[in-house]
C-alpha cells in the first residue's frame, strides 16, 4: 500500500486567493499522483462538506475532507499558507491545512485519520514543527513520524 502522504502532496506557500482555490490546488497534487479517479467529483464532495459546515479548527487549522467515490486510495494533502485562508474558525484564518480524501467505502479510515491528526494538533510543538519546516520533505518527515506511519 502506498503512503498516505507523499512529498508531492505538500504545498508550501502556494499562491491562492480563496479557500476554493486552495482546495483545487491540493486536490491537483493528489490527481497528479493518480490517487483519485474523479477530480471534479472530489472537489464537489469537499465543497459540499464545507457548505454544510466549514472545517476550520481553533489554532489556525483547516481540515477540508470528504469520503468520495472520486478517490482511489486514502490520501492526505498538506498546505502551509502563512497569509491564512478562511475556513470559518471562530478564532481566525487557517495557515495549516490538511485535506483528507478517502474512498466512499472507508468510513473507519476517515475517522482514524481525523482522530490521529487531531491528537497531534492539540500540541503546540507539533504545529510549530509544521510552521517552521523549511521543505516538503521535512513536513513529510514530521507527519510520518508523528501521525501517519507511527510504528
Amino acid at each position: 500500500m502506498s503512503e498516505i502522504l507523499e512529498a508531492s502532496f505538500v504545498l508550501l506557500e502556494p499562491t491562492v486567493n480563496s479557500k476554493s482555490e486552495l482546495i483545487d490546488a491540493m486536490v491537483a497534487t493528489l490527481a497528479a499522483a493518480g490517487r483519485i479517479t474523479d477530480r471534479e467529483q472530489l472537489v464537489k464532495d469537499i465543497a459540499a462538506r464545507e457548505e454544510i459546515m466549514q472545517t476550520g479548527l481553533e489554532g489556525g487549522i483547516g481540515l477540508p475532507h470528504a469520503r468520495s467515490v472520486g478517490v482511489r486510495e486514502a490520501s492526505v494533502a498538506f498546505a502551509r499558507v502563512s497569509g491564512g485562508v478562511d475556513f470559518g474558525a471562530a478564532d481566525g484564518k487557517a495557515d495549516i491545512v490538511f485535506l483528507i480524501a478517502v474512498p466512499a467505502t472507508s468510513e473507519a479510515d476517515h475517522m482514524k485519520i481525523i482522530a490521529s491528526l487531531a491528537r497531534r494538533l492539540i500540541h503546540d510543538s507539533f504545529k510549530s514543527a509544521l510552521r517552521s519546516a523549511s521543505s516538503k520533505e521535512e513536513i513529510v518527515e514530521v507527519l510520518s513520524r508523528e501521525v501517519f506511519n507511527k510504528k
Binding site: 454544510i52 473507519a108 475517522m111 490521529s116
Partner: protein, 89 residues
C-alpha cells in the same frame, strides 16, 4: 458533579458537523462540560471541536459527559444532542 452516559446518534460519529454543533452548543451553555469515550477515561473539553475530534468517536459508541457547573437540564440538553443525528441534512 453531574455525569451522564449517552450513545452517539450521528451516522458519521462525532466529527465534522456533529463535533462542531456539539462544541458550539456547549459554548452556548456557558458552562464547562467534559466528554470521554467509554473505555477510555480521558475526559476532554467538549467546547473544543479539536478536542472532540481526538476521541475518534463513531456512530453507536458510548460516551460519558460530565460537568461541575452545568444544571441537570443543561447536561440533558447536550446529551440529547449527542444522541440525535447531527449530520442529518
Amino acid at each position: 458533579m453531574l455525569v451522564k452516559s449517552v450513545t452517539v446518534g450521528s451516522r458519521v460519529g462525532l466529527h465534522a458537523r456533529p463535533a462542531t454543533v456539539l462544541a458550539e452548543s456547549v459554548q452556548g451553555e456557558g458552562v464547562e462540560i467534559e466528554i470521554a469515550k467509554d473505555g477510555n477515561d480521558e475526559f476532554v473539553d467538549a467546547s473544543s471541536i479539536l478536542m472532540i475530534l481526538t476521541l475518534g468517536v463513531s456512530h453507536g459508541d458510548s460516551v460519558t459527559i460530565r460537568s461541575e457547573d452545568a444544571t441537570a437540564e443543561q447536561l440533558e440538553k447536550i446529551a440529547k444532542l449527542i444522541e440525535s443525528d447531527l449530520d442529518a441534512e
